[in-house]
Amino acid sequence: MPRQRSPRSAALGLTVRRIPTTIPSRSSGTLRRRLVVGLLVLASLVLISLSFRADESGPLGGVQSAGATVLRPFAVGFERVAQPFRDVYGWADSLLTARSEAETLREELREARQRAIQSEYAVQENVYLRDLLDYRDGPRFPADFDPVAAEVIGRPSGAFTQAIVIAAGSNDGVRANDPVVTADGLVGVVTRVTSGTARIQLLTDEEAAASAIDLRTGATGIVRHARGTRETLVLDRVRKQDVVRRGNEIVTAGWRAGALSSLYPKGIPIGRVTSVGQTDTDLFQQVQVDPYVDFGALDAVLVLVPTERGG
C-alpha cells in the first residue's frame, strides 16, 4: 500500500495510510436522484390531471378498471383473512357499550311495538286512498328495487373522503347513482363502477346529501354531514315554523318533480334526531341526527338496483 506523507504528518512523525474507496461522483448521483424523483412527481401530476378530467369510459378509466379487476381477488382474499380479527375488534368494542345499548334498545322496542300497530292501520287506509286517487309516485323502497348484496373490500386511507369499495360492479347490474343501504338504513350512493367493484360515497362524506323528512311531523330538509364531526349528520334547511322533536325518526323523502327525481327512494331510515336548536339570526333550525348505520363498521351492504332496469 503506497504511503503518502504530508509535510505536517512528516513533521509529526506519523504515518498516514489512505484507504481507497469507490466514491461515486456526487454531482451525477444528485442529478440522477433529482431526475428520478422529478419524473415520479411529474407522472403523479399527469395521472391526477388525466384522472380528474377524464370520465370513466376514457382510456385512463379503462386502465383503472382493469387494474381494479386484477387487484380485486387480492382485496377479497385479504378481507376474508381479516374478517375474524375485525369480528374480535367489533366484539371487544361492543362490550364497552353493551349495557347502555341494551337499555336503549328495550325502550325502542316498546315504542316500535306501538308504532307497528298504528302503522298497520295506516297502511290499509293508504292502499285504499291510493286506489281512489290513481296515485302516480316515484320508485318505492324496497318493493321497486332488487337488492344486490356485496362485501366491503376497502376504504380510502385518510380523512379526505368518506367512501368504501364493494365487491360488486357492472357485471352484477350496479350502476353509478344507485342507492346503497344496510338493514339499519341508508349508507350512501354509488359513484364509480368497474366490472367487479364499485365505489360508494358514504352519507358522512362532505359532498354527500339526501333529501329527508321527519316521519312523525313531515318537516323536510336535507341530511348532510355535520362539519367537525366524523359520523354525525345534520338535517339542514328545516324551516323555523316546522316542528322537529328530539327522538323523531328521519327517513329519505324521495321527491319527484317531472322527469327529475331524488337518487334515493322514499322511506329509507337515516337516523334519529338527537338535538334541535335555533337562533334568532339563523334562517333554519339546527337539527342534529344520529345515523342508524355504523359507518365505521360496514362489512356488507345492499345496492338497490331498480327493478325496471333488470326487466
Binding site: 407522472a43 403523479s44 391526477i48 376504504r155 386511507s157 385518510g158 379526505f160 362539519r227
Partner: protein
C-alpha cells in the same frame, strides 16, 4: 439494490397497500386511523435511500388509488414525496440516529396530512380543515408513531439495509 431486493420491497409495499385499504383504514381510534402504508414507505426510504423510497411510495400510492377507485395519482404524489424526504433525511442528518424512524414518521405524517389537504383543496374537493388537520390527524400522528419502530424493524428484517457510500477514510498510524 439487486433485483431480488427490489422484488422483496415491492411485495412489502403491495401487501402494506392492501392491508391499509382492507383493514387499517377502518380501524378508527379516537377519530383517526393509522396509515400503515405511509409508515412502510418511510421505513423503506430510511433503509434504502431517497430514490427507492420515492419509487416505492409511487407504486404503493398507485395500488391504493386503483383499488379504491380514487383519483389516480393523488396518493402516489403524497407517498412519492414522503419516501423521498425520508430517504434524504437518512442520507443526511438522520444518519445513525436511533430515533430517526420516530422523527421521520412523526414529521412526515403531519406534512403528508397538510399536503393532502392542500391537494384535495386544489382539486375542489369538499374537505374541512378542522376534520382533516385536527380531528383525524392528531390521533393518526400518535398511532403512526406507535407503528413506527415495529414496522421499521420488520421492514429492515424483510428488505435489509442499503450499504452506504463510504466517506473518504484516513487511517493514522503512529
Amino acid at each position: 439494490m439487486t433485483a431480488l431486493d427490489s422484488l422483496r420491497a415491492f411485495a412489502v409495499v403491495f401487501v402494506a397497500a392492501l392491508l391499509q385499504v382492507v383493514i387499517v383504514s377502518s380501524l378508527v381510534i379516537a377519530g383517526g386511523a393509522p396509515d400503515l402504508l405511509l409508515v412502510v414507505v418511510v421505513a423503506l426510504g430510511l433503509l434504502r435511500g431517497s430514490v427507492p423510497g420515492a419509487a416505492f411510495g409511487f407504486v404503493g400510492g398507485l395500488v391504493v388509488d386503483v383499488v379504491t377507485l380514487g383519483t389516480l395519482g393523488v396518493t402516489s404524489l403524497i407517498l412519492t414525496l414522503a419516501g423521498f424526504w425520508a430517504g434524504r433525511y437518512a442520507e443526511t442528518t438522520g444518519r445513525d440516529r436511533r430515533l430517526a424512524p420516530l422523527i421521520a414518521v412523526g414529521t412526515i405524517t403531519v406534512l403528508a396530512g397538510a399536503f393532502g389537504y392542500l391537494l384535495h383543496y386544489l382539486l375542489d374537493a369538499e374537505v374541512v380543515a378542522g376534520t382533516v388537520l385536527v380531528t383525524a390527524l392528531v390521533p393518526a400522528f400518535f398511532l403512526n408513531l406507535i407503528l413506527a419502530l415495529p414496522v421499521f424493524a420488520l421492514v429492515r428484517r424483510l428488505v435489509g439495509e442499503a450499504q452506504r457510500e463510504l466517506a473518504p477514510e484516513v487511517e493514522v498510524l503512529v
